[in-house]
Amino acid sequence: MSDNSTHWKWIAAALGSIVLFFCLPFVLSRFYIYFAALILVTGLLATSLNMVLGFGGMYQFHHAVFYGIGAYTLALTITKTNLPPIVGYLLGPVVASVLAVLMGLVCVRLSKLYFGMLQLSLGSLVWALVFRWYSFTGGDDGIHGIPLPSIVSSITGSYYVTAIVTGLALLVMFMIINSPFGRIFQAIRDNPERSEGIGVNVTRHQLVGQAIAGFFAGVAGVLFVTVEGSVFPDLLFWTLSLEILIMCLLGGWFTFLGPMLGAAIMVTLRTVVGVYTEYWTLVLAIVLMFLIFFLPQGVLGYIIETVRPHPARGQREER
């Protein structure tokens, strides 16, 4: 994405945002720190979805399952076992990643829409289990008041952990996308048949992509527990999956930071509109329809296109 001339701008922007995110807790009230942490978690989740959606061209319709499983793994490790919480923090993303590979093994042989729908049904099975298994997962009540380690028990502490982990995760994902693997992954998105033809193992790359996306969704899941201190089955319900799909679309699903922006817009919209009216989804629906008709490349995609008018990126127009 960046050549040498713009390299320094990117580094400056990155340093600037690090300073900004470090200073936020000094100027914001408790609620807004929580709010910022929530945006970061949701944004990380949306970015991990976009790894396979925007960059892999896979119709990941039920990404929230991995988020929820990551969160539940941490919550259950803390409440049901005597293991130190850090084990849960490591286990969450790993379990999510393993689940993503297992579901991927069943789904990746199918093409676009069929892939998405099979994933939706498998994910719903996981949801139904979590929803009903009262003795283990707490059923539809979920688990509340999870005793978190002392570093993250204050809102500022959990904000810093969230911000640092999110930053690192974004960096790693950015590096993956620009690695040889990431390039092949995008080639598969643009033309799976031709990639197969030049000797790329499409299925294996898609499975690895699933593992990576699942892992980072799991990271977002454990961060959610860190911020919220509770888990509930809605975390893996399919409506959340569609919501994060919308975030990717809203921000721009062919850009790296678009989903983060989309998440920020959605979370802000929900909170701000939610103050004035209970009908915030009505507003969201209208915004969304407007977007589908007039900004199909998303907000960040639109900005990039306006600022840099040369049409170097052809993939946006193809079906």
Partner: protein, 298 residues
Amino acid sequence: MEFATNLTFSAFCQQFLVGLSRTTILFIVSSGLSLVLGVLRIPNVAHGSLYMLGAFLAYSIATAFGGGSTGFWLALVLAPLCVALISLVVERGLFCRLYDREHLMLLLFTFAFMLLARDLVKLAWGSDYRSLSAPSMLQGSFSVLGMPFPRYNLFLLIIGPLVALGLWFLTNKTKIGKISRAAAVDREMVAAVGINVSWVFAFVFVIGCFLAGLGGALVAPTQNITQGMDHSLIMEAFLIVIIGGLGNMWGALLGALIFGLTDSLGILVWPQFAIVFPYVAVVIVLIFRPKGLLKATW
């Protein structure tokens, strides 16, 4: 011992019949979804909202006509027609402009419509429970092997095959049905012989939405009419369509049978995890036949 087996057998029969009545509703709704998915190739997430809308409209129409038997029968006819009209307006006004876009955009448009519909229903009817009573001739129950079986469920068991027959007639025996089946396979070719595919799509979409509304109106007397009824149903309908084979009406029937029966019989086996059984059935079917049990249209 003898008594116990007898009891389980009659409980089995009763649950079987309950499952069959549930199957009817699931079939009517998911056949509409399957039609839209098969011909237009759009996963219409708003299908569940139209079902919910059908139920609420049925309630209001029935209440407006005094709430008696006439009210119910009028509601059963008018509510699906209203839903069909709404869907026609949405399709012609907004949706038809998106047909050449990416599938994801269409999916998200229907999701946006679902959000819109939910809040509009909340605005119009409030967030209370509503209930609609069946007409007097369908109230009460009769006994099947010593267990009570509601008359209304018997009515559903009659309606279901009628709808299936009507739909079969429409898609196989009428000209527009044949055209829409052709459009499902190759829309360019259909356009090339001089047929306005866009209007064929509108027709199919409206029929599909009509069926969602009909399902909603039919389910209204059997359960509370609530805000959340779209959510649970749409996922079930989707799974039914997938395991049956996209766009295949008999597949929708088969899928609805599998879903309805595993659900109702699962309650006998393991009540706590009854809702898990249909999903397990779906996963098993899809692992062995990823494109559904019967032949999909695409």
